[in-house]
Amino acid sequence: MFKYFTRALTQRIFLAFLISIIAHAVVHLAPGEPSEVDPSNPLMKPEDIAQIRMAFHLDEPLYLQYAYWIRDLVNGDLKSFKDSQPVLPKIWERFLNSLPLFFVGTLIVWCLSFPTGIYAAVNRGSKYDRLSTFSSYALISLPSFFLAYVAILWVVNNFGVPVLGMRTFGLEEASGISRFMDRVWHLVLPSFLSAMGGVAVLSRYVRSQMLEVIDQDYVRTARSKGLDEDTVIYKHALRNALLPFITMFGLMLPAMVGGSVIVEQIFAWPGLGRLGYEAILNRDYPVILTLNFIAALLTLFGTFVSDVLYAVADPRIRLQ
């Protein structure tokens, strides 16, 4: 068990190192310049640009730039090209903004997928089953921004409440609970939109797991013995279904970085996705590299946790 543990860990550390090199190479091999260095207005003269290039090490060979990056990252000194502010606190701040989206999103995914999946499995072939299958597919077949615009326009036109941003402006004088609820409300629509894919996939998964269980022998046995069918089904289904969820949870963590770029952009939500997107537009290499690296680290961490939990839950894996 311990051996499994350490092997999983060392493999991942090695992978992390490899990832950092690949990420660095990819980003720097691209054309285009960091925009602090772009003369997009006639005010920046060539001398000014040259001095900025020197300050940001842009003319040094690639491996030196990599070394600078790692050194500054470890020292906590890494500064963004955009405004010379340290990168790690920026990422942390945005991470804290994306975290509620992630939590509420995951909450919505689980809250919606379990009931619908189970109900669909139990009533297989019914109108409900077919309707829920169809609508869950339909929702993930729309481009995300399309659905986002339609949803925003629908809510604003029919309910007259603001949906954009993290909070409503002008509520500073209101009570604490009002402000808390306001924040919750602003979380609901964007989380729901980012959770769409997860709900569709997970509810199908719950449904198929349930279907497997329902047909199994031990259910028939239990039924013939007179035990409460429902309890048997749900207990067993749950246990079997829970295991793969652990993997999914591990993979949802990095989705916080990549998956929400469009939703954050439309909802004016200052999260990690938007930070990454703007860094890409500005060729802010330190931020892009660090974000990619952190996202990859999160995945590695997530899968590591999943592997460990799997090993704990399933003896077969341990003995490999």
């Binding site: 990819v26 091999l29 691209a30 077949s141 990454g276 890409i280 974000l291």
Partner: protein, 313 residues
């Protein structure tokens, strides 16, 4: 209980597949899409019946089914019944013709991207599954390939696509390639798993014993059996490639003119959502229908190919 004849796997799959209305209608839509895409390409570029390119500034932002004003110029050829069936865009181009032209491009992006991911995925998965135990230096082939797959899986897919596409010169081939090269990992894993289990299957051992060459074993015996989950992921892959392309267009990194895709028609149309809503809703609806069809077919295939989910009658 009716006894089924011993059918070929294809017939059997079809009989399960065809039980679901959804899957069948999805398939019909896809067939229709292929016809539309091919004819679209032909009719807008080679034997021009519908004109997707002419700019008619005085006729911009006309709603669907508007009459073309023939007095302004002689460029009303290429319009069915002399009407703009789906309206005109901000440069006065016929939306219907553009959608036709775009269907081919969108579809080919999806297919190419998936093609690339299948080639890479099957090769790597197959190698890992079949030759996994061999060593290169001190490392096992299987470990090498699987760790590489893990590295690729570690990057958040869309963010990686965005990073790379934003940094490369914009071209439709780059986008196809990048989408393809970031989505092969699932296929690789499936194929490897299947190869691993098939490797020790009786018929393979028998073929080896009979002296069949490795190539023959792989291609004639293993691949056909491993191919089932690949079909499913390919179908679903096309759907997600089309969506990824539209997301890239929204963020400004999609396919550039002169190529029109449904993704970039949709993304361009969004600033007209209050003034000319058809520019936004027409391509959106089209993408919905097509991607939904792919998803339904893919799911139908998955259910049909998965023995555990089949109902026993």
């Amino acid at each position: 209980m009716t006894r089924k004849n011993i059918n070929s796997p294809v017939r059997e799959t079809w009989s399960h597949f065809s039980r679901s209305w959804f899957s069948v209608s999805g398939l019909i839509i896809l067939a229709f899409l292929v016809v539309v895409a091919v004819s679209g390409k032909v009719l807008t570029e080679w034997y021009v019946v519908f004109d997707a390119e002419t700019v008619r500034l005085p006729q911009k932002l006309l709603p669907p089914m508007s009459l073309a004003n023939a007095n302004l110029f002689d460029e009303t050829k290429g319009l069915l019944f002399g009407r703009y069936l789906l309206g005109t865009d901000e440069l006065g181009r016929d939306v219907f013709a553009r959608m036709l032209q775009g269907s081919f491009v969108s579809l080919s992006i999806g297919l190419f991207a998936v093609g690339i991911s299948l080639v890479v995925g099957i090769s790597l998965g197959g190698l890992a599954g079949f030759y996994g135990d061999r060593k290169i230096g001190i490392v096992r082939v299987d470990t090498l390939i699987m760790r590489f797959t893990d590295v690729m899986l570690a990057f958040p897919t869309f963010f990686l696509i965005l990073t790379v596409v934003a940094l490369l010169p914009p071209s439709i081939y780059n986008i196809m390639a990048v989408i393809g090269l970031t989505s092969w990992m699932g296929t690789a894993r499936f194929v490897r798993a299947e190869f691993l289990s098939l490797r020790d299957a009786d018929f393979v051992v028998a073929a080896k014993a009979l002296g069949a060459s490795e190539m023959r074993i792989i291609f004639r015996h293993m691949v056909p059996n491993a191919v089932a989950p690949v079909f499913v992921s390919a179908t679903l892959g096309v759907a997600s490639a089309i969506l990824a392309e539209s997301a890239l267009s929204f963020l400004g990194f999609g396919v550039r003119p002169p190529y029109a895709t449904w993704g970039n028609i949709l993304s361009d149309g969004r600033s007209y959502i209050f003034d000319a809503p058809w520019l936004f809703f027409v391509p959106g609806f089209a993408i919905l229908v097509v991607v939904l069809a792919f998803n339904l077919v893919g799911e139908g295939l998955r259910e049909a190919l998965n023995p555990r989910l089949r109902r026993t009658k």
